[in-house]
């Protein structure tokens, strides 16, 4: 039976998380001698992008009624075409809204926030994030089918090109309960959860007017920007940048924390970053205990200098 995967797109464009989910599905399929079937709703991007990560087949759902996102209607659409007993989703906001509804429709087990390839396939068992990154749970599916959502940036994208084929599915799902009125996507801004490098700053920056140097460093590195909770509470930065236990959980390759104390609630959202750099004027800041590299010093002097030096490196 094929391994199914939900390849999420935003406005028709595949998300990086979709490629990661396809890579994950491919890893399962290879273990099991199976194929990968990707499901996509109204994509404009080419299916070639999914073949590159191992999708043998792409089911393109064409449905005018699904132009705007609706968790329930999308779950219905996926339910109509997904015919396997393992279905992989990325753990994005949209996909992780659809997955629980689909789990009920299919009477499958749902395991969210998977961190690695499964430990076993029958029964399906996988390590997942728990206690906001302060613990790891080994979760086992009891039902005959399983839906698994893959924590973003945890498994990674793995190229694994196959020669795939595409099939168009014309559906007309009823979507009467919700209607998208407006959709605002800040263009050109890197998505925090997908970013490989994140430059983050806290109350140590003293005020929103000082964020220019954080943005300069981020731009140079092709990084997204983030902040601690008090910074977004006071309104120096938007809520969407707040990382931590009650904000976003992220796992970039590099997390640079500037003027952030490293409170346990902050760490909970960032401690699965692969490399952590902490810059703080207080040598006793708890964050140093959870960092790979640390600099004790004044951010206002260090950040501009660091930016210059990285610029020099990049030539």
């Amino acid at each position: 039976m094929a391994i199914y995967v939900y390849a999420e797109n935003i406005n028709g464009i595949y998300k990086k998380a979709a490629f990661e989910a396809v890579s994950y599905a491919k890893a399962i399929a290879d273990k099991d001698g199976e194929t990968v079937t990707a499901i996509s709703i109204n994509p404009t991007d080419s299916s070639d992008l999914l073949y590159k990560y191992g999708a043998d087949k792409v089911l393109n759902i064409k449905d005018e009624g699904l132009k705007g996102f609706s968790a329930k209607a999308y779950a219905q659409a996926v339910n109509e075409v997904a015919d396997g007993n393992i279905i992989v989703f990325p753990h994005t906001t949209d996909a992780s809204s659809v997955a629980p509804m689909l789990a009920i429709m299919k009477s499958y087990s749902l395991i969210t926030n998977a961190l690695e390839a499964p430990e076993s396939l029958s029964p399906f068992q996988v390590k997942r994030r728990a206690f906001s990154g302060k613990g790891i749970m080994h979760a086992k599916a009891d039902a005959a089918g399983v839906i698994v959502t893959v924590s973003q940036n945890a498994f990674g994208i793995k190229e694994n090109a196959v020669s795939g084929s595409e099939e168009v599915k014309n559906l007309s799902v009823a979507n009467e309960d919700t209607k998208v009125i407006s959709h605002e996507q800040s263009s050109g801004k890197l998505d925090l959860k997908e970013a490989e490098i994140v430059v983050s700053a806290g109350r140590g920056m003293k005020g929103p007017e000082n964020w220019g140097m954080i943005e300069d460093l981020a731009n140079l590195l092709g990084a997204a920007t983030a902040c601690s909770k008090p910074v977004s509470d006071i309104g120096w930065r938007p809520h969407s940048e707040h990382v931590g236990q009650t904000g976003k959980a992220i796992s970039p390759n590099l997390y640079i924390a500037v003027g952030i104390s490293g409170a346990i609630q902050h760490l909970a959202g960032v401690n699965s970053s692969k490399t952590i750099v902490v810059i703080n004027s207080d040598p006793e800041a708890p964050f140093f205990k959870s960092a790979d590299y640390g600099v004790v010093g004044d951010a206002f002097q260090i950040i501009p200098q660091l930016t210059e030096k990285i610029k020099a490196l990049k030539g």
């Binding site: 996102f69 968790a71 753990h91 629980p100 080994h138 979760a139 009891d142 909970a268 030096k309």
Partner: protein, 248 residues
């Protein structure tokens, strides 16, 4: 208008997370329990609707008797009454089934949940409840206006926001923004006193099926000791990031 608010009782956010010696379960020793911080946004929004639209607010918790302090706190914040389903939760599905069972006959116009609970991070109960009730579901909700049998919801999406009109009844999973952090209600003495006499009904579970087992838990492996770099030697930091960590 009738509102049901789902409340989960979770370890206080400063808790050190430990597991039992055989690693089969979370070690509850010495843990302080709080209302799941993400649920507080829904609860506060419900209380605001109670004040502005005369809504009645019922909180529901699936949990054994140890969760009652957290339920009482929700009543002190302003909920009218509470229901506790007397079972220790085992997975998202079993929790969602119990909530949906109560909601089925309750005629609620809105059901609020938090986007996820900060203990098991399932993020699954709200969507499951919605599907079990065949209701629309808005996840990661950061704004809500109710107008009669409809509501306008704003949800966070990656890199932006989306505004949606939704027919009630509906299930809303909230997070920061649904109400402002500064508007979260801290119970006052009057609230605490009146909470003691508000009805808290205990019901027995109707479902004992689980679909996911927690086989075991691991602590997160500790990071190697931090390498400190002198502030006047940032060339070294750049070298380490480039050559050792290979991240820039």
């Amino acid at each position: 208008m009738k509102i049901l608010v789902c409340i989960s009782s979770v370890p206080d956010t400063t808790s050190k997370i430990n597991f039992t010696a055989d690693q089969s379960a979370f070690d509850k020793n010495g843990i302080q329990w709080v209302i799941n911080p993400l649920d507080e946004f829904g609860l506060t929004k419900a209380i605001k609707l109670q004040e502005s639209a005369g809504a009645t607010v019922t909180v529901i918790n699936v949990g054994d008797s140890t969760t009652e302090p957290v339920i009482r706190k929700s009543l002190a914040i302003g909920a009218n009454d509470a229901i506790r389903i007397n079972i220790e939760p085992k997975d998202s599905y079993s929790v969602a089934k119990e909530i949906a069972n109560i909601a089925q006959s309750g005629g609620y116009d809105l059901i609020f949940c938090g986007k996820e609970s900060i203990d098991y991070n399932g993020g699954a109960v709200p969507g499951m409840v919605a599907q079990l009730l065949n209701q629309p579901f808005i996840n990661a909700c950061v704004g809500l206006e109710v107008n009669g049998a409809e509501a306008t919801a704003v949800r966070e999406i990656e890199g932006g926001k989306e505004t949606i009109s939704v027919k009630l009844p509906a299930v809303i999973a909230g997070q920061k923004g649904l109400v402002d952090e500064k508007d979260l209600i801290i119970p006052n003495m009057r609230g605490i006193m009146s909470a003691r006499s508000k009805p808290l009904t205990v019901r027995e579970p109707v479902n004992n099926e689980v679909k996911v087992d927690a086989v075991s838990f691991d602590a997160v492996p500790a990071r190697a000791a931090v390498k400190m770099v002198a502030p006047d030697n940032l060339d070294e930091l750049v070298r380490l990031l480039h050559e050792e960590a290979k991240v820039i």
